[in-house]
């Protein structure tokens, strides 16, 4: 092997590896400083959005309905709110997470969480969420709602997430004979 050719190559690989290692260590340190427990963060978000307190949480990761899934589900301590963290697939930048609150069998509030979408503000402008808010969950046809033009994939992701919540609620909560207040 030609030593003169191999040495610079090795040096390049070595330098790049050392830089990557150092940056990995730095990021690890920052991760420890800024880590947020997802369960704790969900509790805080639920409480902040509803003003109610939540003390028990069901981990429903894997409860999938179509392209959406329910991640966490909790009932507020006074039994008024059913709070969901749902994830909708099919977005432009992957999954869109959203917090959905159901009160008296109707969707009361939808808050968008973690996402990589760039056109979500168009949904707000087009009053897209009004298609769901205030609707009775038992009668709501989520997948029949029109998407917002110019943000088709973002609205599809939101629809998938809301649909998962509605399906979950109708099959597990309402059919379970639980008193919804």
């Amino acid at each position: 092997m030609d030593r003169a050719k191999v040495m610079p190559l090795l040096k390049g690989v070595l330098v790049l590896a050392v830089i990557a290692l150092c940056s990995g260590l730095l990021l690890g340190a920052f991760n420890i400083l800024t880590y947020v427990d997802p369960l704790q963060a969900t509790y805080e978000q639920f409480a902040a959005d509803t003003g109610a307190t939540f003390s028990a949480m069901q981990d429903e990761e894997g409860q999938t309905f179509g392209s959406g899934s329910v991640v966490y589900y909790a009932v507020s301590d006074d039994g008024q709110y059913h709070a969901f963290l749902a994830s909708g697939g099919g977005g432009y930048g992957g999954n869109v997470q959203m917090y959905v609150y159901i009160k008296d069998s109707a969707i009361e509030k939808i808050v968008i969480g973690d996402n990589s979408e760039t056109f979500l503000d168009r949904l707000e402008e087009a009053n897209f969420y009004d298609n769901f808010i205030g609707q009775n969950v038992a009668e709501l046809d989520v997948m029949g709602v029109d998407v917002v033009s110019g943000a088709t994939r973002s609205s599809t992701a939101v629809k998938n997430g809301v649909n998962a919540v509605v399906q979950y609620y109708n099959t597990n909560v309402a059919a379970g004979g639980e008193n919804n207040g």
Binding site: V15, N115, S116, T118, E125
Partner: protein
């Protein structure tokens, strides 16, 4: 440190080589993140932070990094600082983070940062490189804020979130296409002003050139007479 070089570096980033209005780099965040002044300011600050530290480290490692692998090395350094910005924002400014998440991640491929690493930091001392990062970053932030002020005013009739009563609003001003129009108009205005100032300086210089008999007459003296 050389005073002249400091002055050149600072003025270069802010005015002469303003990354947005003169070099026309980083157009993607310029259009997408300038719908409100606050968003534009936050985007500018995040970019400035990454710019300062990536410039510093590229400059510190400039004699160690082999030429052939310099671009991957720069990208690793830049993305490290972008992820740090992301982590800190997610922890401490979650509301802001959820609205500009995608664009924070895109700072990695922001051409201003790679351009400064490649053309300035890789051949200058660390302190100059940091200074260049500060001035370029502030030039970018300033330009974004100017566009943000105009677009927020036209689209929502407000300044930094405070509504100004009595002005009609244009909802279309928030759209990307209108962003380009505002961007173009402001770029033209900026370059016009810079050119006028340059011409005036040139005139003053000419007016104060030594005459053939060796005496110096400046324009100001002429006026005083």
């Amino acid at each position: 440190m050389d005073k002249q070089k400091i002055k050149e570096t600072v003025l270069g980033g802010l005015i002469k080589n303003n990354p947005t209005f003169v070099l026309v780099l980083g157009t993607c965040p310029t259009i997408a993140m300038t719908t409100t002044l606050f968003q534009a300011f936050a985007m500018g600050l995040a970019t400035t932070f990454v710019l300062i530290f990536s410039n510093l480290f590229v400059s510190l490692l400039r004699n160690i990094i082999p030429d052939k692998v310099r671009i991957p090395c720069y990208i690793v350094i830049i993305s490290t600082f972008v992820i740090i910005v992301q982590m800190v924002m997610r922890r401490f400014l979650p509301d802001l983070y959820s609205t500009m998440q995608a664009f924070i991640a895109l700072i990695v491929v922001n051409c201003i940062i790679l351009a400064r690493a490649e053309s300035f930091a890789s051949c200058n001392r660390p302190l100059y490189s940091m200074l260049d990062g500060v001035s370029m970053g502030l030039g970018f932030t300033g330009a974004l804020c100017l566009i943000g002020i105009v677009r927020e005013f036209l689209a929502g009739g407000s300044f930094a979130g405070f509504a100004i009563p009595g002005f009609p609003t244009m909802s279309g001003a928030g759209a990307s296409a209108f962003g380009f129009i505002v961007f173009g108009c402001m770029m033209a205005l900026f370059n016009f002003v810079i050119q006028k100032i340059g011409e005036r300086k040139e005139k003053l210089k000419k007016a104060s050139l030594p005459l053939s008999d060796g005496t110096v007459h400046s324009a100001a003296e002429e006026v005083a007479k």
